[in-house]
């Protein structure tokens, strides 16, 4: 089993006709993902390498039975694209686009939560989600992940997610699902949402969490792990030595007023029984120990 997406998931790509959407959409299809439709109101009726393009997400859903949407729309159009996907009844909307204004994110997160409770947003500014061997939705290179479990991964950082997948693969350890929640200020899916799903997934036996400085999402995850999780967790937090008040690439990765430091996050996680590594390799090694001991 996997969480959120598997081999039966049918996906519509909003922005399939653009250069990024086309590249990754086809790449995801090559991986085995059921890429069933694209959406572009100006190009309805055409196709992208055999994948039919519809005018709206609703029409794409009607014609193909898609339940998940993947958004490659440029930042100015993301707010409307997410709302359209939610209105069409998508269960999951994966927003890869980076550079979405924070006011838009805050608005569509709350709008979808209230009016479309059946829709989950993942991202924006995330690498997507991969259930190795089953479905890959987004920009992760599928070949760096080994299918089969028993580890679930949830991460705020793209390249560090790849690093984690790769280190586990080198050790011969498989992954059930790897969720990149993205580094933006208002992520649609939180660490806790993923931890909850991994806890409920019988095939996931352990979870690796990759966090970053800024905000309090890791501290909240630690509280959840402490009180609600039975499965072992290993973790790594990037930005231990970042100077306070400095924005380091991700909109979310900023330490302000002494809050959201890596040290505080690592302490909270360690206090919750999580094995915390000082660098990605160490976190990978800790996960190897956990898996060998299962």
């Amino acid at each position: 089993m996997a969480i959120f997406v598997d081999e039966n998931t049918k996906v519509v790509y909003q922005g399939l006709t653009g250069s990024q959407g086309r590249f990754y959409g086809l790449r995801n299809r090559d991986y085995g993902t059921q890429v069933v439709a694209g959406v572009n109101p100006k190009k309805a009726g055409t196709d992208v390498d055999g994948i039919p393009v519809y005018a709206t997400v609703a029409e794409a859903k009607e014609a193909t039975g898609a339940t998940v949407s993947c958004v490659f729309i440029p930042a100015p159009g993301v707010k409307a694209a997410v709302l359209e996907a939610a209105e069409a009844g998508m269960e999951l909307v994966v927003v890869i686009t980076e550079g979405v204004p924070a006011q838009d994110e805050a608005w569509f997160f709350n709008k979808v939560k209230r009016d479309f409770p059946g829709t989950r947003i993942l991202g924006p500014n995330c690498p997507g989600i991969i259930s190795p061997g089953k479905a890959n939705i987004g920009i992760t290179a599928g070949e760096i992940a080994l299918p089969g479990g028993p580890v679930g991964i949830v991460s705020r950082s793209g390249t560090l997610t790849y690093q984690a997948l790769y280190e586990l693969k080198l050790q011969g350890i498989g992954v059930t699902t790897c969720v990149g929640i993205g580094g933006d200020p208002v992520p649609g899916t939180s660490f806790i949402d993923c931890l909850e799903a991994f806890e409920a997934d019988p095939e996931t036996k352990a979870v690796m969490l990759i966090g970053e400085i800024g905000g309090s999402a890791e501290e909240e995850a630690a509280e959840f792990i402490k009180t609600k999780m039975t499965k072992p967790v290993s973790a790594y937090i990037a930005g231990v030595t970042a100077p306070p008040g400095t924005k380091m690439g991700h909109a979310g990765a900023i330490v302000s007023g002494g809050k959201g430091t890596a040290a505080a996050k690592m302490e909270a996680l360690a206090d919750a029984g999580v094995k915390v590594g000082n660098n990605p390799t160490e976190a990978g090694e800790l996960m190897v120990e956990i898996v060998r001991g299962l």
């Binding site: 930042a75 100015p76 608005w107 560090l160 970053e212 990037a238 690439g249 660098n279 390799t281």
Partner: protein
């Protein structure tokens, strides 16, 4: 993007928030001329991107032209925490009855907008929050609903401002919320928000951080961008579209992805080195981008070694290696380079680099080994 006070006031004024009449000037003569137009007394305020201006002598009251000349002369050119004052804001000095604090920002935990209002303004709000948290009235606003007048009024009452300030405060807070949301700000703060003896409420200061991601829908932001203060290295990187943060060590860092770049800075520190920078070249590390990144690092005289840390996901290791080789052909690099490439096609990438290996260019299989080598080289 942090605005200077006078830009923040212009931003506020565009949303009809009352601010004092004033002018931004860069010379003493212009300061005097501005003061004459505005009428005395005036306040002369240093325009820099750091706090603590008052304590540093960057804010002075002037009752006439001579005092204006004297203070403007002292403040222009003043060094405030490493920021040289190039511009002063001259504004009419308001009579103050009471000082309040008001702000809007995003509460990332609650995923709602957070408004904070306090009757204890004019001081560091962090200090108030610590010593007397009850003195700050907070309101969480669902972005879909926005801030209603009714909610704003209840909020003002909860903050226990002088009743004479209620109507004026409600009016300003509604406008400030509009400025924050429609203006695409990450932060809008007024400290102090003042009540004048005559009963008007008025923004005496303006601290505004704009969300750079929203620049596409705000044409006026280019003027703000022009006054952003960056050190030379940061400006060079910004011009090349690179995500760069200057640090004060000796190991230059280049990585793909913000998380990996942060992690690289961490690991350099962990093995006893000091990173000279954070530099994220993003996903598509082609020769052009790599050459630009190497140039930026190379121009930093403190850099004694360079650590390039690449994880090939979509970006292939061999393409990255070719990019580095091409870049080296174009840029004369003074410091030795240590490269770690992992992930997709890493083997091919390492082979390509092997043909070019020398004292000035070596490849290491893991992040940790590469960091150690780079730190050793920097110490030589």
């Amino acid at each position: 993007m942090d605005l200077l006070e006078y830009q923040g006031k212009q931003f506020f004024a565009s949303f009809d928030i009352p601010v004092s009449p004033g002018e931004a000037v860069t010379t003493v003569d212009d300061a005097v001329a501005a003061a004459e137009r505005i009428g005395y007394p005036v306040v002369i305020k240093a325009q820099v991107h750091v706090g603590g201006r008052g304590k540093a002598g960057g804010v002075k009251l002037a009752a006439n032209a001579d005092e204006t000349r004297e203070h403007a002369g002292n403040i222009l050119g003043l060094d405030i925490k490493g920021h040289i004052v190039r511009t002063v804001w001259v504004e009419f000095a308001s009579d103050i009855a009471e000082e309040y604090y008001a702000s809007f920002t995003l509460d990332r935990s609650a995923k709602k907008h957070l408004g904070m209002l306090s009757a204890q303004g004019g001081v560091e709000i962090e200090a108030v929050a610590e010593e007397n948290p009850d003195a700050i009235a907070k309101i969480w606003i669902d972005p879909v609903d926005g801030l209603t007048e009714e909610a704003a009024r209840a909020w003002v009452e909860a903050a226990k401002l002088n009743p004479a300030a209620t109507d004026g405060a409600v009016d300003i807070l509604l406008k400030l919320y509009r400025a924050y949301t429609e203006g695409d700000a990450d932060l809008c703060e007024i400290n102090p928000l003042i009540l004048k003896p005559t009963g008007e409420v008025h923004a005496l200061d303006a601290k505004v951080t704009l969300d750079g991601n929203a620049q596409f829908r705000h044409e006026g932001w280019e003027a703000f961008e022009a006054t952003q203060v960056r050190d030379e290295r940061e400006q060079a990187a910004h011009d090349k579209g690179l995500q760069y943060v200057g640090l004060d060590g000796t190991v230059g860092v280049i990585a793909n992805g913000a998380g990996l770049a942060m992690s690289t800075v961490d690991i350099v520190n962990q093995v006893g080195g000091k990173p000279a920078n954070f530099l994220d070249i993003g996903g598509g590390a082609n020769a052009e981008v790599m050459a630009g990144a190497l140039e930026v690092i190379n121009n930093d005289p403190n850099v004694k070694s360079i650590f390039i840390n690449i994880f090939g996901g979509i970006t292939k290791g061999d393409e990255v290696a070719n990019g580095i080789v091409t870049a080296l052909g174009r840029v004369k690099i003074d410091a030795p380079i240590v490269i770690r490439i992992d992930g997709t096609n890493a083997e091919q990438g390492r082979e390509i680099l092997a043909a070019h290996e020398s004292e000035m260019l070596q490849s290491k299989p893991t992040m940790l080994e590469a960091a150690r080598t780079a730190v050793e080289l920097a110490a030589k």
